[in-house]
Every structure is written in structure tokens, then in C-alpha cells.
């Protein structure tokens, strides 16, 4: 968890005072558990009701609003307690009634997708846009020069051409987990399909070959904008990032380009819910009103690089005010879901993952059952073409079993993973580092995939290689292999410092299943694979 906080703190843009940093940490602690947990709402500190506090289900990039919200709290007495979540999950929760009594308001980057779901839309009372940010592409200045681009003239087709010529690689967030990724996918698909109006199923089908080429250039994926920026900086070899203009403006060295042929804009509507009472909705209205005052609008654009929605406040310096066509968001759920499905199973590069799973003696009983349940749950989430290796370990690696979810017969691969999961047994010591080394050897050189290692352990290293030995091993790996991150999951009695170090060393990120559930942690990691 500590890595996660420092990473966030480092990349949360501008003027984070010590006090707000502490607040941010507190918020993240609270929200992290909500993201990865299936706990009862009443036990969860993030969702327990508290007078004067609005529990808001929000897009994760809104963490940059912390200093602005502190100001709003000072002005109005209204405190916002955000829980961060991707659009799709949030809309599912809303539609399924799981937000009822748990959240007081919704604050996503856009409600466009929500409105495609009548079961979710009917839970909304009112929504008010409070700021805006278009999707953009942030390109390294050197790459802009090499490509000979004039930023104000660049089109999506030019971006595509550069990717095809092997002159441009980029990172973006996972559309299924992150609002920014979802908007990016819609922008790219609309831009490249040549559709003159809202995308249809036929447009998506027609654009598929071009999109496939385009997504070959994607070298980084991430469940959140913050980690994407970290990975981009660490990797050093990726030329560009696709994300909201507001996110890209916060990353040094990027030339931020809004393609000339159009973008999708996030408009961040503060949304009140039918499940709440009139008093709560009045609070939400007051919050909205406060966010739309000129003073706060000015602060929003200065601090977060988003665009104001009040005519009297100009966008912050550095935000280009020339106009862009707004690409229409699909008007039906089948188009939006179809596009997502195509991205996951067909368009993007496949993922390749080794699951290094602690099945030492201490995992016996409930813990092993939880692990098995979580893995079985994951089989519903694996994408076509994905390669999954299960590497259970105790005193040493016990077995190495690799399965591919083949598009022709996805069931047989998934069944095999389930069978191997059922056969897991708890015995032996805990050889974390030896097993990790074997995972790196197993993966070998990076192929044309998103490659990563997931490490789940419930204890400290008690056998095999030591931490320092693993550090040396990792540093001696060839550059390509050093790009493979380890995503450790904190579970049972595992040691936070030990796992945080592994995440830090390999450029991964720590996930917490001590506060939340194992199931939730595995699912959250999907965004990074």
C-alpha cells in the first residue's frame, strides 16, 4: 500500500500541501479497501454514513480534485468522501441497486454510458456538469519533431499512420476498468472508423482491421491513470500516452495534441440519486453550486488543467482554445459493449501472465478456499488469446501449468485452469524469491504481449533465495525482461514492506487483500494485464 500512496502523491499534480497529501492518503486508504472488497457496506469505513459528508462514487482521476474539494469544504461545510471506480463497474453497481444507501452521489467523468442503460438511468435524479476535459494524445517532444508533426494539424489517421510505420508507441488505460480508457477507445474508434455520425455496429465491424493495426502500437496498459504515468516514465521507451488532456498536461515533457478530426470530452456531471432522500440531494445540489462558482472554477482549471464550464472563467494558460469537433458517443448499448468486447478479445495485444501462488502449509483451510474461489472467479474474466500460467509454490515451485484461452475453443483453456485450481494443495515453506526467479525464467523474453507476474502470498519468505539475491537477479536480467512488472497481493500475514519492495523494484503495484478481498484484488489487477 505504501508504494501506492507515494506513487500517487508523487504524481498528483501541483501544490499538494502536506495537509492535503495526508488527506489524500487517508482517502486512498479508505477507497482502496472499497475497490478491492466485497465487504458488507455497514462494516466498511468508506461507506458508513456520516452527517455532513457526501459518500461519492467517483472516477479515479478525480483524486486530483482533493485540494479543490478541501476548499469547497471550507466554503460550504460539505465534505466529499470519494470511492474510486471505473465507469462500467459503477454503472453495474447503480443498475443492480448496490449503491442504494451506500453512496449519496455519483461523479463519473461522463454519464454517456450510464444513459445507455435504462436500469441505471432511472436511478438518477439530476446531473450537472462541473468541468470538462477532452481525450488527447500526449507525445514526447522529440517524437513530435521526428514525425514532423504540427500539433494543431494532427489527425487520428496521422496517429494511425505513425503507429503503422513503427514510429509511434503509446500507453493507455484499460477501457473496461478506467473511465479515461473507455473514452479513449470511443475517440479512437470514431476517429478511425470514418463514421460521420454516432458509431453503429456496422461502423465498428468496418473499422476493426484498422483498429487492430492501431492497437499494435499500445505498449502499456493500466487500470489507472496514475500508474500509467509511472510506468511510462520508468519504461522510457514509450513515445506517447492516450488519456484525458487534464492528465497529460500534468506529465512533464509531453506535447498534448487534440486530434483535429475530433475528440470525446468528459464533462464530469455531479449526479444525485433517486435512492437518497431530499436532504442529501439538497447537499449534492449545494456541492454542485459551489463547484460552479467562478472562484472554484478558476481553481479547478489552474489546479487540474480541466476546462471550466462557466463562461466568465477562461481555461488555464496552456489549454489551447481552438475548437474541435465533438465525436458523438454511441447511442446504444450494443455498440458500446460491442466495441469494448472487440477491444478486449480481438483488438488489443493479448496478455500473458504468470500467477505465482503461495500454497505453503499456512495457506491450508479457509485461505486456500478463498484463493481457489478467487481464481475460479477470474476464469470468467480471462480474455480470448490470453496466456495464463499457474505456478503454485511452497518450499519451491510445485508445478508450472500454462493454458491459452483460444478464440476457437475458449472453454477448454478455462476448464483446464479450473481443474488445476481445484487440485491446489497447501504444504511446505514459503519460497517467494526462488519462485519469482523461476517465473521470470519461465516468461523469458517479452513477446508481443502485455506480460506480467502476479504474486500472491500469505506470509514472509522462509525458504530459498533471499530478498537481496532476488534484487541482484532482477538487476542482471536483460532490459526487455526487466520491463515485466510483479503485482504482489498482500494477504493473510504477508509482510507489507517486503511486497512493497518487490513492486517498487519491478515497476509493479501493490494490491491489498488484507483490507479488501482476495477476489477483489485479483479483479483489480486485471486492469494492468
Amino acid at each position: 500500500m505504501s508504494t501506492r500512496h507515494t506513487r500517487h502523491a508523487r504524481h498528483t499534480r501541483h501544490r499538494l500541501t502536506a495537509a492535503t497529501a495526508v488527506l489524500a492518503v487517508a482517502l486512498l486508504t479508505a477507497t482502496a479497501s472499497a475497490c478491492t472488497s466485497a465487504q458488507k457496506p455497514s462494516q466498511d469505513p468508506a461507506t458508513a454514513p456520516e452527517p455532513g459528508t457526501l459518500r461519492v462514487l467517483a472516477s479515479s482521476e478525480l483524486s486530483d480534485m482533493t485540494p479543490v474539494l478541501a476548499r469547497v469544504e471550507k466554503d460550504t461545510g460539505i465534505k466529499v468522501r470519494p470511492t474510486y471506480m471505473g465507469t462500467l463497474d459503477a454503472v453495474d453497481m447503480l443498475a443492480g441497486g448496490k449503491t442504494d444507501g451506500v453512496y449519496d452521489a455519483l461523479w463519473l467523468s461522463s454519464n454517456d454510458y450510464l444513459r445507455l442503460r435504462p436500469d441505471a438511468a432511472k436511478k438518477v435524479v439530476s446531473e450537472t456538469s462541473v468541468m470538462a476535459s477532452p481525450v488527447a494524445i500526449g507525445v514526447k517532444a522529440a517524437t513530435v519533431a521526428e514525425l514532423g508533426w504540427k500539433p494543431e494539424q494532427v489527425t487520428w489517421s496521422q496517429v494511425e499512420e505513425a503507429v503503422q510505420d513503427g514510429k509511434l508507441t503509446y500507453g493507455m488505460t484499460d477501457p473496461a476498468r478506467s473511465n479515461s480508457g473507455f473514452s479513449t477507445l470511443i475517440s479512437v474508434a470514431s476517429g478511425l472508423s470514418g463514421a460521420q455520425s454516432a458509431l453503429t455496429d456496422a461502423d465498428v465491424t468496418k473499422a476493426t482491421p484498422r483498429l487492430k493495426e492501431f492497437f499494435k502500437g499500445q505498449k502499456l496498459t493500466s487500470g489507472s491513470s496514475g500508474w500509467l504515468a509511472d510506468a511510462y516514465e520508468r519504461r522510457g521507451t514509450v513515445d506517447a500516452l492516450l488519456n484525458y488532456e487534464s492528465v497529460l498536461k500534468g506529465i512533464p515533457g509531453l506535447t498534448v495534441i487534440r486530434p483535429r478530426d475530433g475528440v470525446v470530452t468528459a464533462d464530469y456531471p455531479v449526479t444525485s440519486l433517486a435512492s437518497t432522500d431530499a436532504t442529501t440531494r439538497e447537499e449534492v445540489r449545494r456541492l454542485t453550486e459551489a463547484l460552479r462558482t467562478p472562484a472554484i472554477q478558476r481553481r479547478i482549471t489552474d489546479v487540474t488543467h480541466r476546462r471550466p464550464v462557466v463562461a466568465s472563467v477562461p481555461p488555464a494558460a496552456g489549454l489551447d482554445t481552438s475548437r474541435r469537433r465533438e465525436l458523438p458517443f454511441p447511442g446504444s448499448r450494443s455498440v458500446a459493449d460491442g466495441l469494448l468486447d472487440a477491444y478486449e478479445n480481438e483488438l488489443r495485444r493479448p496478455s500473458r501472465t504468470v500467477y505465482v501462488l503461495d500454497t505453503s502449509g499456512s495457506m491450508g483451510g479457509e485461505r486456500l478456499s478463498a484463493l481457489k474461489a478467487a481464481l475460479r472467479g477470474l476464469t470468467g474474466d480471462f480474455r480470448q488469446r490470453e496466456e495464463v500460467t499457474l505456478m503454485p509454490f511452497g518450499s519451491d515451485v510445485k508445478s508450472v501449468r500454462t493454458h491459452v484461452v483460444s478464440p476457437a475453443d475458449p472453454k477448454s483453456g478455462l476448464d483446464a485452469i479450473r481443474r488445476d485450481t481445484d487440485a491446489l494443495n497447501a504444504d511446505g515453506d514459503t519460497a517467494i524469491y526462488t519462485s519469482l526467479e523461476k517465473a521470470y525464467r519461465q516468461l523469458g523474453a517479452d513477446r508481443d504481449t502485455f506480460t506480467s507476474i502476479v504474486l500472491m502470498t500469505d506470509g514472509e519468505n522462509t525458504a530459498g533465495a533471499k530478498a537481496s539475491e532476488f534484487d541482484g537477479f532482477y538487476r542482471r536480467l536483460p532490459a526487455g525482461q526487466r520491463d515485466i512488472p510483479v503485482f504482489p497481493i498482500l494477504f493473510g500475514d504477508s509482510d507489507r514492506a517486503e511486497l512493497a519492495h518487490i513492486a517498487e523494484l519491478t515497476g509493479g503495484r501493490l494490491f491489498d487483500a488484507q483490507q479488501g478481498s482476495l477476489d477483489g484484488a485479483f479483479k483489480e489487477i486485471r486492469g494492468y494485464q
Partner: protein, 361 residues
């Protein structure tokens, strides 16, 4: 003691009665207890009710008004128990609500506002150069020729096909007016009321045959837009923030209120469709207090004046609006010269038009 005061203040904030307390203190009217009246209003009236002067004027008359916003057609789906009034943006949803809650006719209709199209100068000039609009010389306003626009939309015209559009990067893609969701929002439904009248040969759509005849074009006007905004406020915000479609259907009141707020509206151009629809902001009283409030909004000179400040045209006296908006005559067609305002189809028919327009066909 301070601590206790803090707690009391916190409780007041939570209960949302601060406005009443402040208003009571402002007008020195402590003698009369104010009545709290709750209502659900169309988004375009949220700022009117939030205006401190409106709060004060209402308090003088003994009212504290608490409002929530909702799409006019979506009000039907809300549980309005505990509310004193609903205030949708047009007559059709108001009549439906009145029937549902057995509110007595006639319903108070304090003010109205015509639908207009907002555009930036570039887009307006391209429309004019291609015979789709006429701009008033030297002004920031003009007339949108609805028949010509519908003919272009029917043929899937793109901006690229219009002469002069290639100079502006943002003018690409299918030519359309962005409107709100006609199934939940009044302005979107009124857009269909106006366009269906033109498409039906200058007759109000009334029969099944009329609906059938106009449905393909109505469906095209809506489906090209993809996801639509749920409220006219959201659509107008997008336009103001520089995002969104080049042409957006909004209420004149939103434009007038914006002009009243600031010195310059940049290169905003207001196009009055030669055939448009009016939003008749209609109060549906759910209690006697609600009815009294509706009548107060219609009759009280101070509140009428404040309504004009927020861009609305009070019923029954055109001069009030003309005088108050004199400074913005360059943008506003104050007397609605050359603007036809045909009647709106019955709510049943309008629902049917909206349903067919939105449907996947």
C-alpha cells in the same frame, strides 16, 4: 458555547434551512413564519430559484422554496410525495403530471421561452453561405431556415459538403442540431414538435398516419447524435465550455441569462428557427401551497422582473422582456419577428414521436 453554536450551525446546514434563516434576517420579516415549499423543476430554472434576490422576494411573501432538478418528462417517473409542486418546462408533461396527481386546471404558466439554436460565428456563416440560415447584418443573430435544414439532414449532408466549411477544423461530420433526450427532456421533445410540424407539411402531427410519415426523418435527426444530454442545461454548458456539437438547441432564456451575466458572449450567434416551439414553463400544484406559489410567480411584479433577468418571457406582457433585454438586442430577436410558433402535438402523440425517433429501427 462556540462549540454548541458550531453544532447548531452544522445541524442547520444539514437540514438545509439556512436560506430561510438568512432570508428572514435580510428582509426583517421575522414576524411571519415562512412556509417551506418543495418542488421539482426543469434544470434551466435551477439558477432562477438559487438567485439570492429570488430567494429574498419569495421570503418577503412568506415562502422558502427548495428545488431539485429533473428532466421534464422524467418527473413522471419520480415519487413526488412530499413535494408541493412540479415545474416542468412545457405544457405536455405538465398536463400529464396534472392528470396523474389530479391537479386542478388551469395550471399557472408564469413564463415561456422559445427554442433557439446557438452556434459559433464560423458555423453560422457557413450555414448562411449555403442557404440554411439568414444572418441579420451586423448582428449576432439570425434565422435558421427549418425546411432547408431538414432537407439537408434528410440527405445526410456533412459539413464537408457545405462550401466554406473546410476553413474550420471543427466543422466536420454529419450536419445536425444537438438536442436533449426527447424521452426525458422537454427541449428535446419540443425540437421534435417543431421539426415534425415542418416535415408534416406545415400541419401539427395528430394522427397515426402523420406519425408514420414523419418518423423516418425524426429518427434520423436523433440517431445521428448518439448519446444525448439529459437536460438543456448540460447541453448549453457543453457549448459554453467549447466542447460539443457546433449547433445546439437550447432555450432562449439560457442565452439571455448568459448575456445578462457578462460583458461579452464572444462569437456566439443565436439562430431563431423560422418554425420553433415554445417552452411554456408550467407549474403543476401538488398542494395548495404549490398552487399559491405558482400564482405568485405569475402575478408578483418583482418575481416577474427577476424571471426576465433569468431570460424568461413573462406571460401576457411582451414589453417587459423587450425593455429588460435592450442591451442584448444584437443577440436576441426580442419581438420574435419572422418566427412561427405552431402548436405542440398532444402529449400522447409527442411521446409516440419521441419513442419512434429514439427507437432502433
Amino acid at each position: 458555547m462556540r462549540r454548541i453554536a458550531g453544532i447548531v450551525l452544522a445541524v442547520l446546514l444539514i437540514c438545509g434551512v439556512v436560506a430561510a434563516v438568512l432570508a428572514g434576517r435580510d428582509n426583517g420579516d421575522q414576524g411571519t413564519a415562512t412556509k417551506t415549499v418543495r418542488g421539482v423543476v426543469g434544470s434551466e430554472k435551477a439558477e432562477f430559484f438559487a438567485d439570492p434576490d429570488v430567494v429574498k422576494a419569495l421570503a418577503t411573501k412568506g415562502y422558502t422554496v427548495k428545488t431539485e432538478t429533473s428532466g421534464s418528462w422524467a418527473m413522471e417517473g419520480l415519487d413526488l410525495k412530499g413535494y408541493d409542486f412540479a415545474f416542468p418546462s412545457s405544457k405536455a408533461p405538465a398536463d400529464e403530471l396534472a392528470a396523474k396527481y389530479k391537479a386542478r386546471q388551469p395550471l399557472p404558466r408564469p413564463f415561456y421561452s422559445p427554442l433557439v439554436v446557438v452556434a459559433h460565428r464560423n458555423a453560422a456563416e457557413v450555414l448562411a453561405a449555403n442557404g440554411l440560415a439568414v444572418l441579420d447584418k451586423g448582428q449576432h443573430r439570425g434565422t435558421l431556415k427549418m425546411a432547408a435544414y431538414l432537407a439537408a439532414a434528410g440527405k445526410d449532408r456533412t459539413w464537408q459538403q457545405l462550401k466554406g466549411a473546410d476553413r474550420y477544423g471543427e466543422l466536420t461530420g454529419t450536419l445536425y442540431i444537438a438536442s436533449t433526450d426527447p424521452e426525458s427532456s422537454s427541449s428535446g421533445a419540443l425540437y421534435l414538435a417543431a421539426t415534425s410540424y415542418v416535415a408534416n407539411g406545415g400541419r401539427v402531427v395528430a394522427s397515426e398516419a402523420d406519425v408514420d410519415r414523419t418518423a423516418p426523418l425524426m429518427h434520423k435527426l436523433i440517431s445521428v447524435q448518439g448519446a444525448q444530454q439529459p437536460s438543456s442545461d448540460a447541453a448549453f454548458r457543453d457549448f459554453v465550455s467549447g466542447a460539443g456539437n457546433p449547433l445546439v438547441m437550447v432555450y432562449e432564456s439560457q442565452v439571455a441569462a448568459l448575456l445578462g451575466d457578462r460583458q461579452s458572449a464572444g462569437d456566439l450567434t443565436v439562430l431563431y428557427p423560422d418554425t420553433t416551439a415554445n417552452s411554456d414553463h408550467t407549474v403543476v400544484p401538488l398542494t395548495e401551497e404549490g398552487r399559491a406559489l405558482g400564482e405568485l410567480l405569475s402575478d408578483d411584479p418583482v418575481l416577474r422582473k427577476l424571471a426576465v433577468r433569468h431570460g424568461f418571457r413573462p406571460q401576457g406582457d411582451a414589453a417587459e422582456f423587450v425593455a429588460a433585454t435592450a442591451a442584448h438586442a444584437a443577440y436576441l430577436n426580442q419581438t420574435l419577428t419572422g418566427v412561427r410558433q405552431p402548436p405542440v402535438p398532444t402529449s400522447k402523440v409527442l411521446h409516440e414521436i419521441a419513442l419512434r425517433a429514439r427507437g432502433q429501427s
